[in-house]
């Protein structure tokens, strides 16, 4: 698979604060790429540098094989960009705005018109005649997607498109992104992990200015995820009795305990299970519940950033 976007050794500081530190990232064609990180991790900064809106201190960014240069917007025709809070000219109507975008991007009038109608119905804004000033946040977000897709870009960069929306708005945006998956590569930054699990094929977690983990969702889960075994007893005393066993002690290094519940973690879940079962058999303790907890993206994320 060809890479639509590749970033090598990217660095950026604001004053003395190093936001991006020698970052490497590649996004293969045809994927929905989840770009995860805490607030302030540098997701927007990375995206803005990719668009040539911010100057990088060092490193190289190529989009569809062309190098990105700060201040130059030449190779932006490959990219559609949806800012985190897209702002438009309030006095315009959606079709007028798209016509302006089309004219700037160099599309023909008839092409812009057809494409605008098509996109406005994709995002559910067809027939909306009022000025953008009267739009809700969700409507602006949807118009943002329409403008970003206007010139059929190879790469769509969405900066936290769902963060400010209500559940209905979020679902709508995710559905739209899923719809365009076949034709456009999507980079999608967020800190809402359920959104990532819902639509992304590949993810990268940005932490301390660098990619902490990246890969396909299943790869990441198997490679980095720790499996967890939950045991629930009926009384607190049983938990302490269980913990007091010699065989269990080596497994207690990373446990979470709350009330009558105890969660054991480790790389080799089968081994943990064997030990636990033999201990239970020896002591005669009977848990009311025993469950293998699947590693979730949330646990992974917390593990990386904490």
């Amino acid at each position: 698979m060809k890479d639509v976007l590749s970033i090598k050794g990217l660095s950026k500081s604001f004053g003395t604060q190093k936001v991006i530190d020698n970052l490497d990232l590649s996004v293969p064609e045809g994927t929905i790429f989840g770009f995860i990180g805490q607030n302030g991790a540098g997701k927007t900064t990375t995206m803005k540098m990719t668009l040539g809106l911010l100057e990088a201190d060092g490193g190289e960014i190529t989009v569809c094989g062309e190098a990105v240069r700060y201040g130059q917007t030449k190779n932006n025709h490959h990219i559609g960009y949806l800012p985190d809070v897209p702002e438009f000219y309030n006095y315009m109507k959606p079709l007028e705005y798209l016509a302006l975008c089309g004219e700037i991007a160099g599309l023909s009038k008839s092409n812009t018109k057809d494409r605008s109608d098509e996109l406005l119905s994709l995002v559910g804004l067809n027939g909306v005649k009022k000025r953008i000033g009267g739009f809700s946040r969700g409507m602006k977000q949807r118009l943002g997607i329409a403008q970003a897709l206007l010139s059929r870009p190879k790469l769509l960069i969405c900066d936290e498109p769902t963060s400010a929306l209500d559940p209905v708005g979020r679902k709508e945006i995710l559905d739209i992104l899923q719809k365009i998956k076949g034709t456009t590569t999507v980079i999608f930054s967020t800190h809402i992990l359920s959104d990532v699990e819902r639509i992304c094929d590949r993810v990268a977690v940005l932490h301390n200015g660098n990619i902490a983990i990246s890969g396909t969702l299943s790869e990441i889960k198997t490679m980095h995820g720790k499996e967890r075994l939950l045991l629930e007893f009926s009384q607190k005393s049983e938990v302490s009795q269980f913990k007091a066993c010699e065989k269990i002690k080596p497994l207690l290094s990373q446990t979470e305990e709350s009330g009558t519940e105890i969660i054991l973690q480790g790389k080799d879940i089968v081994h943990i299970q064997r030990v636990v079962i033999s201990v239970l058999a020896e002591t005669g303790l009977c848990p009311s519940k025993m469950e293998i907890m699947e590693s979730s993206l949330e646990n992974l994320f917390l593990e990386v950033v904490m």
């Binding site: 100057e55 917007t73 030449k74 960009y81």
Partner: protein
């Protein structure tokens, strides 16, 4: 070029829909109408209000009409223009509306030039409208009055207006807030005034273009007195626009 045309059209639409064009036309039309009328009826007004001072205002002439015009336009008219257009970039910075435009491939010089062109066109239309009205009215109220260099004097003020717009443009590019851009313009204006005060550089400053128009009409100064300030003004405007583009190219948005 494509981006420039598209964005200029957007600028004109914006100025129509946020009533800037309407306000400019209305203000300048009022100045155009008011100047000759004020000159004509000041004596009557003075007689009614302050009879002992009325003698000084007797027999108004066409020159009084133009004095009113230059007084109104060069002070209030230009100030209002500056205030109206001082927010032309700050609004875009604050809302972030330019980001999408730039990611569509709009070049940064096109942004600066479109903003300037739209403001210049609107100022030009409003200004010459005011001039036309005053010219017609003055000719009607004082038939047969002939003054030298009527057009040249008007052309001088117009050139200075464009210079002020280009100073404002640089201010808008340098600073994020409209108020700071206006402050920047004030500082530059004061410097231009000082240049005129210094003996070695007297006669060079574009300030002459806004202050000596009446002297030109009354024959106190000759047309050649305006030549150097004209040239200085045009070159300064061009240089300021180039600087605005250079600064804007480097600006992080």
């Amino acid at each position: 070029m494509r981006g420039f045309i598209a964005f200029s059209k957007k600028e004109i639409t914006e100025n129509i829909r946020n009533y800037r064009l309407l306000i400019m036309l209305a203000i300048f039309l009022i100045f155009g109408l008011m100047s000759p009328l004020l000159a004509k009826f000041t004596p009557q007004l003075m007689e009614a209000l302050m009879p002992n001072l009325a003698e000084a205002f007797e027999n108004p002439t066409a020159l009084d009409s133009w004095t009113q015009f230059y007084k109104n336009v060069s002070s209030l008219g230009l100030s209002l223009t500056i205030i109206l257009f001082s927010s032309c970039l700050s609004g875009e910075y604050a809302k972030g509306t330019l980001t999408i435009m730039l990611t569509k491939g709009l070049s940064r010089p096109a942004v600066v030039l479109s903003k300037f062109s739209a403001a210049a066109v609107i100022l030009t239309v409003s200004y010459w409208l005011a001039f036309g009205v005053t010219y017609g009215y003055t000719a009607y109220l004082w038939p047969g009055a002939s003054l030298p260099h009527v057009f040249l004097a008007a052309f001088a003020l117009w050139t200075a207006g464009l210079l002020y717009l280009s100073i404002l443009m640089l201010g808008c590019v340098l600073f994020r807030q409209a108020f700071t851009s206006i402050l920047f313009l004030l500082v530059v204006t004061v410097i231009m005034g000082l240049v005129e005060q210094i003996e070695q550089t007297a006669g060079y400053s574009p300030v002459i273009l806004v202050s000596k128009n009446i002297d030109l009409l009354s024959g106190t100064v000759t047309a050649s007195y305006f030549t150097i300030p004209f040239i200085v003004s045009i070159f300064t405007s061009a240089a300021l626009l180039i600087m605005s583009i250079v600064v804007f190219n480097k600006k992080q948005l």
